[in-house]
């Protein structure tokens, strides 16, 4: 599904190299987690994959089902099935949540040569998805993320994911700022989307989230590359001992 080969990335504005040869292969239906100390490049990886400005890919490749992601605009990546759940979802005053979601869904359908969804079908769909995430009608009507609590913002990200049905979902520290109940709600939302044709890349600092969203593979990222991969037990090891042992072992 997602193939990243020897990806090197620097900041556009300054001569700072962030990713120094990332290799990653997430097969269809798999859940991979990335953990790593602050500043290791985890969030940068998610931004580069989604097409945010400000980064320059100096070498390497990233493909989604064979399509060269790095050649595509952010909206084309989305239509190709990539979704990033933001660590800090953006507030957009004046744009209603529903309008936003309908515009996004129809834009993606249009880009894929599909018919637009009717207003009635859309309403039915969003009500059903919102209900399971405990998102009420008021939240749907309000401007995108404006006045939402941290938990509401993250739930809203998962709602978007559920509505847009991407095949590759990247969750960038979705657990940050969540209390226990919200974490369970968000995780249930993600687990409900697990499917043989859909893959997940879960970026997190804490093993806690991985209790809820069980990964197939855990990668440890440090200093711009993956330094170790393993099963879920690797996350437990990090939780217990921190990164020091692994960093030392790899040095």
């Amino acid at each position: 599904m997602l193939n990243i080969k020897d990806l090197h990335v620097k900041l556009e504005e300054e001569d700072k190299v962030i990713l120094k040869g990332v290799d990653l292969d997430v097969p269809a239906g798999a859940v991979h987690a990335i953990m790593g100390p602050n500043g290791s490049g985890k969030s940068t990886l998610s931004y580069v994959l989604s097409g945010r400005d400000g980064y320059e890919v100096t070498s390497g490749s990233a493909t989604l089902d064979g399509a060269d992601l790095l050649e595509l605009d952010p909206e084309e990546r989305a239509s190709a099935g990539l979704f990033l759940a933001f660590q800090y979802p953006v507030e957009i005053p004046g744009v209603g949540n529903m309008t936003f979601l309908r515009t996004a869904l129809n834009a993606q359908r249009k880009a894929r040569g599909e018919d637009e969804i009717s207003a009635g079908d859309f309403l039915k769909l969003i009500r059903e998805k919102a209900k399971s995430l405990k998102i009420d009608a008021d939240m749907l009507k309000r401007p995108v993320n404006v006045g939402f609590s941290g938990g509401e913002k993250k739930r809203n990200e998962i709602l978007q994911m559920a509505m847009l049905e991407p095949k590759m979902c990247i969750l960038d520290e979705t657990d940050s700022g969540l209390d226990v109940d919200a974490m369970r709600l968000v995780s249930e939302g993600v687990n409900a989307l697990r499917d043989a044709g859909r893959s997940f890349l879960v970026i997190t600092h804490y093993q806690r989230l991985l209790d809820h969203i069980k990964p197939d593979v855990v990668h440890i990222m440090a200093n711009g590359r993956m330094i170790k991969s393993g099963g879920p037990e690797l996350a437990l090891e990090v939780e217990k001992n921190g990164y020091a042992d692994i960093l030392e072992e790899m040095a």
Partner: protein, 428 residues
Amino acid sequence: MAMAAENSDATADRLASLTMPEGSGWASAARGAALERLQMMGLPRRRDEYWRFTRPDDLNATQAPSAAVLHSDEGSLFSDVDRLNIVFRDGVFDAAASDDLSGEGLEIERLETATARDIHWSKDVYGVLEARGQVPVQRPFAALNTAFATDGIVIRATARVSKPVNLTYLHEDPDSDSILHFVVRVEAGAELTVLENGPAAARFNKCMEIDVADGGTFHHVRAQGRDHERRAVTHLFARLGIGSTFKSFTLTVNGVLTRNEAVIEITGDNAVAHIAGAAVGDGNFHHDDTVFVTHDAVNCESRQVFKKVLRNGAVGVFQGKILVKNGAQKTDGYQISQALLLDEDAQFLAKPELEIYADDVACSHGSTTGAIDEEALFYLRSRGVPTDEAQDLLVLAFLAEAIDEIDSEVIADNILARLEGWLVRRRG
């Protein structure tokens, strides 16, 4: 105040090119008094305090600069509103194209028939509110209008009028120069909506005086025509009685020169005055909102909400003032003027003013100039919304606070449709 010689010449030239229409005694007196006011103050000059950001030359010129007539396939605005439609063609009333001048709770007639009568209710308003609005800021084009207006309508609402009165201004002659004057009186407890739509002429001078009696409600929504080269100077003069409501919204799409002045005097306690505008311009576009709200009563609320979207050399101007007179306690005054600049060539000039002589008031004002929020743009794009569409969504979001000032959903939808049309035409 004595006029400078050059200004005096310019004023004399302009006046020589105009003819005062005939009327009865009271109308002639009103027009004559306006002419005297105009002669005293003279036409505006660039160095006048309130004309520093907008060149008055094209408005002062004896001949109107021509403006190509825009042929648009866009449907007529407000056509789905159940309305009383009154049509002006290059500034001349077109009876055949207009609905009958009658309606429940309405007294409505052409200005020339009203001014031909010896006694008429409009006598207490025509030129009266305009004259009050000349202090402390002079508004020469309004005095010129009162003196020389060639046509117009007087409207009196005596009850709740369900159908909006829609003034449609067609522009067909590329050299037309039109001066229209409207008088509105909303009697105690009555309610009236006035809609305006169209460019009206190559050069358009419009004055509307609105007297809202105690408990009266007046709604006003206008869309200024899309003809690129048109020029317009308009004035709204409103006087608000006890517990009355005044709400006005203006959409401006295109136009090389637009100067919209609004002078609102709140004279009765517990009154509410809202005035809003959304202006979008691309290229040779100069749009000026000059607003003066005077609080002279207790416990009143005023809101000014003006938003401009500018690109490609377009210029926006906002000069807005809230004056709270001594004794106008419990005033709640709000003013916001904001520009969204879509590139680095656009310009926004703002002069917000507060002048407060009462000690128990809440007044706030703000003015901002900004660009499209790149974070929001990326967020929308990351969800699959193409850049153009994402930018349009953010533009409409920016304008939302102004459009929200329109109470009627069907009328607001008309305004939104026109804005969306503008946005779509500018893509690609």
